[in-house]
């Protein structure tokens, strides 16, 4: 070791000063030989003792400085004879140095200090602020309508840039296979394929167990990570993994790796978690948006969504097909453009009303192609959504039905008027019949009698007999007129349906008959016969039926009349009287049809026609069975009694 002072050029007192300053200091001559280096500089540069470095080439002593900014800047100072100052990472010392170099004719003097703390703080701050910006950018990107794959790539790139990550992986979780699938990555080179699938039992399970995020300083030694050989091969050391989604519902995994001695700081982890959270939101939104879209595309309704200005933000394929245009051409146009046809205004009104009143509105419209559409408009996402359905067929059916109904009503009205007119005619006819036809009859009868009374002594027996015949004929005609009038009245009788006790009614009718034509007739009436009907008409019907039975049993030795109901529910009135030939059954219910001569049994031939008309007016059916000499049975149906009314 030479005893000489470090540098002949340096005065001892100067050297004294230089040894005491807190900055590192060294001097190089023009040939880059170290002529002086203070203790602080040697400490910081991990340099050997002074005796070993003095006069040595700077680059030989600090080979790691070759090709660095240090070499370049010192060379510049020497060459251009200008002072230089810079901040640079020293590979020799693994720290940041702030350097000032001053030229002199025979070399340079260099002052430097360790500014690692300051630089790192600055860089951390810078990174955090850029991470913040990146996050905001990511959120914005996540909200825009773009393929989720694109977002995955952006996230990976972002982690590379803002975390300084050497490798990044983005997995999504497939619940069905319980596997994490690689969707985007960086820094793996040709090894990316090896990472295509990550089993559940891996860093993923560890992240889930940890509630979200794990990190390690040396991934090669951390058993929570699988495929550790690969990390070693790529020189990856520190790692951070965070779950996308929640431990309960994992959606994926985000992993970043660093090389060298760097570890993830708290801020880095927060950034990673924030990115994962944003991504998770975007994935959920995309998922629901995809589902929504799938629904919107699968529905048979046309669908259009627009913003508050009624500009189209979305249409499904069906809607686009309807306009014969591409979806991209329709998006961005104003809904009004399509509604310029007459009648389209109220569609716009429905859209506006859904917007302004914030509640659903509906419309129905016929477009210029003559088709009918029904639409439902809903307030939707800062705008409105509208489902439109082709209801042409239904509408045409409706219109047709309405037309038919109108036509039917018109016909009914017409027929009603005709009927009313006919009824009026019938009424006046009946009036005339009852009034005018009777007057001549009365005259015939009256004057026949007058003739007999006043001129009886001038008439012989035969003439008086003829007069009797004239009078009988007149009286009979009067009866016929009355019966006809009754028949006509039934048609016009108002129908007020009530529950009627037919058993009681039949008993009352029989009583009347016993009084007017007292005979020894056995009458059996089944109790509890009830039906719904017009009491006065039903009484008239029973009067005729039982009256007939009474009449036609006149020549029967032991007359029996039965009133009852069959097991099929038909009411019946039967007798064991004269009966009739079934061959003539069809004529029974016609007016003026008689199966017996007046000599045998008197009658107008209108009674059964009246009964039939009464039953028909109740919506019932009447039929008869009989045999000559054995009796007759009349069956009829009536509406069931309404329990509620009884």
């Amino acid at each position: 070791m030479s005893q000489s002072s470090p540098l002949p050029a340096f005065q001892p007192d100067l050297a004294n000063v230089l040894e005491r300053i807190t900055d590192g200091f060294f001097a190089l001559d023009a040939q880059w030989n170290i002529v002086y280096m203070n203790a602080e500089a040697r400490r910081m540069l991990h340099a050997p003792p002074v005796s070993e470095i003095l006069g040595k080439q700077w680059l030989e002593t600090f080979p790691m400085a070759r090709g660095t900014a240090f070499e370049r800047e010192y060379a510049r100072a020497m060459r251009d004879q200008v002072p230089v100052s810079f901040v640079e990472w020293s590979r020799t010392s693994n720290c940041w140095f702030e350097v000032k170099a001053y030229p002199s004719p025979d070399g340079i003097s260099v002052y430097f200090r360790d500014v690692t703390t300051r630089v790192e703080a600055e860089r951390e701050l810078e990174r955090r602020s850029s991470q913040q910006e990146a996050l905001i950018e990511l959120s914005r990107a996540a909200l825009t309508e773009r393929p989720i794959e694109q977002l995955f790539d952006e996230v990976v790139e972002m982690l590379v840039v803002y975390l300084g990550a050497a490798a990044v992986e983005l997995y999504t979780y497939d619940e069905r296979t319980r596997m994490f699938r690689l969707r985007s990555s960086d820094g793996w080179g040709e090894k990316a394929d090896a990472r295509a699938v990550l089993p559940y039992a891996s860093q993923a399970a560890a992240a889930i167990a940890a509630g979200g995020t794990i990190q390690t300083v040396d991934v090669r030694l951390d058993e929570r990570f699988v495929d550790r050989g690969l990390f070693a091969e790529l020189g990856l050391r520190a790692a951070a993994c965070t779950l996308i989604g929640t431990p309960e519902v994992p959606q994926g995994l985000l992993a970043a790796y660093l090389t060298g001695d760097r570890a993830f700081g708290t801020a880095d982890l927060h950034f990673l978690e924030a990115v994962a959270a944003t991504l998770g939101e975007a994935m959920r939104a995309a998922q629901s948006s995809r589902q929504t879209r799938e629904i919107l595309e699968s529905i048979t309704d046309a669908f259009v969504a627009c913003d508050r200005d009624l500009r189209v933000t979305y249409v499904n394929e069906r809607m686009a097909a309807f306009y014969g245009r591409k979806r991209e051409e329709i998006v961005g146009t104003n809904v009004r453009e399509y509604l310029g046809y007459p009648g389209g205004e109220h569609v716009v009104a429905a859209f506006r009303s859904a917007l302004d009143d914030d509640r659903p509105a509906t419309f129905e419209t016929q477009t210029p192609n003559r088709r009918w559409y029904e639409g439902r408009v809903y307030p939707w996402m800062n705008g409105v959504a509208c489902y439109i359905r082709d209801v042409t067929r239904r509408k045409l059916d409706d219109l047709r039905i309405r037309e038919l109904n109108t036509e039917l009503e018109r016909r009914v009205r017409e027929r009603t008027l005709q009927l009313e007119a006919a009824n009026k005619e019938l009424e006046s006819f009946a009036y005339s019949v009852s009034h005018d036809l009777r007057a001549p009859l009365r005259a015939i009868d009256g004057f026949s009698q007058v003739l007999e009374e006043d001129f009886g002594d001038q008439l012989n027996e035969t003439a008086r007999g003829y007069l009797g015949r004239i009078r009988a004929a007149a009286r009979r005609m009067a009866e016929l007129i009355d019966a006809l009038l009754q028949l006509a009245r039934i048609a016009r009788h108002s129908m007020s349906f009530q529950d009627v006790d037919l058993s009681a009614l039949a008993a009352s009718v029989c009583e009347d008959l016993r009084e007017s034509d007292p005979r020894d007739v056995i009458v059996e009436i089944e109790p509890g016969l009830r039906a719904s009907g017009e009491p006065a008409l039903l009484r008239a019907a029973l009067q005729n039926l039982i009256g007939n039975a009474w009449k036609f049993t006149r020549k029967t030795p032991a007359p029996l009349i039965r009133v009852g109901r069959t097991s099929e529910g038909e009411f019946f009135v039967s007798d064991n009287g004269a009966g009739f030939d079934m061959a003539y059954a069809g004529k029974l219910f016609g007016a003026f049809q008689r199966l017996h001569s007046a000599d045998e049994f008197e009658g107008t031939g209108i009674g059964l026609a009246t009964v039939a008309r009464i039953i028909h007016r109740h919506g019932g059916i009447i039929r008869a069975e009989g045999e000559v000499g054995k009796g007759a049975t009349f069956y009829f149906t009536l509406p069931e009694e309404t329990r509620a009314a009884s």
């Binding site: 009852s434 009034h435 005018d436 009777r438 009365r442 005259a443 009868d445 009256g446 007058v450 009286r475």
Partner: protein, 145 residues
């Protein structure tokens, strides 16, 4: 002429004859004044064209009359103070519900249907005459006239 009489308003000659005969057969000898249409009856009753007669003690009214119908006439009879209280009986061929209802609503005293059978007709006239001319006490104003 203050003698009480029956006013028969009827357009059918046959019926007029038969009615007269029925009264005669029943020994009802009151005068019978016959008017053959509604308009004539109006003049007789309300315009005093009665040739000095007072108002009738009893009116028999047919419904189907030329010009002014029986029901219209009845309405006027009942509305006019002079005739409002005269016992009036509808004697008609019609037994239509509507006619009966309208008749009673307008204040007729009886509604009698003319039977076709002359014997029954005579009996009906007998009873009506007996009741309204003998049994029934007329309202005061008419009795005093």
């Amino acid at each position: 002429m203050k003698k009480p009489y029956i006013l028969l308003i009827e357009d059918n000659d046959d019926d007029i004859e038969l009615t007269r005969r029925a009264f005669a057969k029943n020994h009802i000898v009151n005068d019978i004044v016959v008017l053959r249409d509604g308009a004539e009856a109006c003049e007789f009753l309300f315009e005093e064209k009665r040739e000095g007669r007072s108002l009738p003690q009893f009116i028999l009214l047919d419904l189907k009359l030329p010009k002014v119908s029986g029901l219209e006439l009845l309405e006027r009879i009942r509305k006019d103070e002079r005739t409002a209280l005269i016992p009036t009986v509808i004697l008609t061929s019609s037994k239509q519900e509507e006619d009966r209802l309208a008749g009673y609503k307008l204040g007729v005293n009886s509604y009698v249907r003319k039977p076709v059978d002359f014997n029954e007709f005579v009996e009906a006239v007998r009873q009506v005459g007996l009741y309204w001319l003998v049994l029934n006490e007329p309202p005061p104003s008419i009795g005093e006239e």
